[in-house]
Symmetry: C2
Subunit: 472 residues, 2 copies
């Protein structure tokens, strides 16, 4: 200690403090980093009108998000309703990817989908078709759709049709397969295909008829209630699935009669709903997608309208840049592994389910779901801290989606890429962990902080476009 | 201020401090009252072995409560299964009462039940029969049953049969009528009777067959889950009702076929379950009753095994005194009133639903249900404070019923009358508020602190019996 010298604040690498400390100077090390995308932030601040225009665009965008009310209105074959999903095309989660770059679970799921469609005679043949590029691959997100984990949608798969009643746009998501051996984690054996066929031939027609009989079910209302009931609508959907089932049950009975099905078929549908806590995840995702798509394409807005992972890359969209992807390698997931598995078995992060966080749910609503925090290895307090940290990145508190444990404050909603750059804080996601080899399935669950680079790149691109617009 | 004198602690009425304060003495007023039933507390402390015996008896009693697992296994006519419910007998909530002492809603409900059974031609005739004592009235609690609000059970009403699987005893409760104009709030017009007949003829047979097909439903498991989902199982049962419906739905379809009913009847049952958030209350009550009855009749135990109100009186049972009632006038309820109503319209507290608090749910689990705290006019913090305060009166933290918001600590369970006397703290209940006139129905909801005198009297009786046992 050198009492003659006042303590000195040190900003930067810790090595900077060492020589001072050697001289007995008290150092207060400050954890501060310069903002990301500094030039882009400056461009907005320095150019007259630019920042005001961005703020106004964001206001318009977030206003569209929180005003959106979504209903699920039907179940249809994907090929009949998803835009541009022809024979020979498969949709997948995350940003665009080709066969060679696809991870194990994504490859496994693609092979399963080719088999389901009958485009190949066996799995090797399916793999060869995919390797030769004979199957067109496209992101779900580019076709108004979302899928959890591998997120494969093939033309004959049933999709739930969700309508954003406020703005008229629609979104699509498959029926959740449940837990165990499932296509979305890359499994593709005959039992997986048989279950997919049951969903297609038995569950989907009944559920579709029930939804038409009910004239749709209000998803916004169910999500709002489920947040009061311990769900964050990503890793935990038990309340939402229960509320949905209870609300549709009478219509399922009517549909059974209308379609001339027998009681066993209705019972099987209910048993599937009872066994599948995660059923509502796909509806939550589709509702979030329909909300965020309504806020896409607003010139100048730095609102993030999609975050998605294909198991190899993580990518985002900004409202002001429509459907341009900005990507970085998909991150590893921290979490709890099922017995017998560890981090070395884990595939990098995978799935479109990050659309829930994009719309203020999932990890952004983690304070609402203490049970899930324990499941992913944290404490109740981690939930509160995560929700509060995410509020630093977002444009609003959702007026309809509230968290009782925080005194009914709204979830933080609407990630602003500028706030991500300014704070240096990357968004956090809840997620399942897939084995890196196809077919093994889920091996854990956890939370993951996404890479910050895509937000930086996207915001820089927005700044460039905005500056060009002003000067050009 | 008299700086020469040290501050003085003043215990007792505030008038004691005034003369001291007039002389400039700083007074620290201490809110302390002498324990209730002081002689009884002393009797236990002073007589060798007596307190140890009481503690051991309580340990045995609470052990039976928390080890109890309950299932609902059937729906049957009350007259066929409830012990001693013959033609000409009606069961009611709370301690014993006669027609003249019964409050408006209880009288209204009794008249409705006589009409439902066809024992009188019209309501005036029914009232005359009741006034002449031609109908035997008995507390539900004395026949292994419980009923919310007026709690009327007549022989032809269907009751759900709940089994305490651990100890073999059974309990019974009616199907909840839902909200609006209902018998349990004293309404008895033709629409009320028609709905009761629908419950009896359409809902009960289907639900009973479904429960038999399912081989029962585990209520302990549903209650444990619902506490993670914002229910406290008294004023809020939305999660539990949703979980129950989702679990039984497939069996209802099978039952519809087995009984040769048509799809409309199943649909009507599901519509009733979807519209009746409070459906599970009666199951929660029956489960709590089956747990507490398993702990009744343990010599020397000061565990409270029942708290119940008949709209005129509040009464309790102690384990060590079997089915002896200790009563005081039923309290008024503090809470929020529906528009157009106020405290002057309210009936004193009513119903067997306080069995939920007796078993650690309801207000004892208020920290689990922030949404209900707001509904009854409090803040989220009131829930936590109430749960913590009730822990001062209870023998254990429930190992299965946990509260996520409190870091998954168990609900405080098992009121010890000795702790009530020692602390001077009376238990708190969640409750609905009935209009004091028959037939108007629910006019609000709130929380209520029950009178402390019955705990004092019961504990004194227990001490007397224990002392007699030692000296005799």
């Amino acid at each position: 200690m050198n009492p003659a010298v006042e303590p000195i604040a040190v900003v930067g690498p810790e090595e900077m403090a060492t020589p001072l400390q050697d001289q007995g100077v008290t150092c207060i090390e400050v954890d501060w980093r310069p903002p990301r995308a500094l030039d882009a932030l400056k461009a907005f601040r320095m150019t007259p009108g630019l920042e005001a225009h961005r703020v106004a665009a964001n206001q318009q965008a977030i206003d569209r998000v929180v005003r959106s009310r979504c209903r699920v209105i039907d179940v249809r074959s994907a090929g009949d309703v998803v835009p541009g999903l022809e024979r020979g095309t498969l949709l997948h989660a995350g940003p665009p990817i080709d066969w060679m770059s696809a991870s194990g679970p994504l490859q496994g799921a693609l092979i399963g989908a080719v088999m389901l469609e009958g485009w190949a005679l066996d799995r090797d043949g399916a793999a060869r078709m995919l390797a030769r590029g004979e199957i067109e691959l496209a992101p779900c997100h580019e076709r108004d759709a979302v899928g959890p984990m591998a997120g494969i949608i093939s033309p004959s798969m049933p999709v739930m049709v969700v309508e954003n009643v406020t703005f008229g746009n629609r979104s699509y998501s498959t029926l959740n397969e449940g837990l165990g051996k499932v296509l979305r984690y890359g499994a593709n054996d005959d039992s997986v295909l048989a279950h997919l066929r049951w969903l297609c031939e038995a569950a989907a027609p009944l559920l579709g008829e029930a939804l038409r009989h009910a004239e749709g079910i209000d998803l916004t209302a169910i999500i709002a209630q489920a947040l009061h009931m311990g769900d964050e609508l990503h890793n935990r959907n038990k309340a939402a699935t229960s509320l949905f089932t209870r609300q549709i049950a009478g219509d399922v009975c009517q549909a059974t009669e209308t379609l001339g099905r027998d009681a066993d078929e209705a019972a099987a549908l209910f048993q599937y709903l009872a066994a599948t806590d995660v059923f509502f995840l796909n509806l939550a995702m589709a509702a979030c997608k329909a909300c965020m798509d309504a806020a896409a394409g607003i010139p100048g807005s730095s609102l993030v309208t999609a975050m998605a992972r294909n198991g190899t890359e993580f990518g985002i969209w900004l409202s002001g840049l429509s459907r341009s992807w900005f990507t970085a390698p998909a991150p590893a997931v921290e979490g709890l592994f099922f017995p017998g598995y560890g981090p070395e078995d884990a595939n990098p992060d995978l799935g479109d389910s990050a659309i829930t966080e994009t719309a203020g749910l999932g990890a952004f609503a983690l304070a609402a779901a203490p049970a899930i925090v324990e499941f992913v290895g944290g404490s109740v307090d981690l939930g509160r801290r995560t929700t509060e940290e995410m509020a630093e990145l977002t444009l609003a508190r959702h007026p309809t989606y509230q968290i009782p444990a925080l005194g009914f404050v709204g979830v933080p909603v609407g990630i602003d890429a500028a706030l991500v750059c300014r704070t240096g804080i990357a968004p956090v996601l809840d997620t399942g962990i897939a084995h890196k080899k196809a077919g093994i399935g889920q091996i854990g669950a956890g939370i993951v902080r996404v890479p910050i680079e895509p937000f930086e790149q996207a915001f820089e691109a927005l700044a460039e476009m905005a500056s060009a617009g002003t000067t050009g």
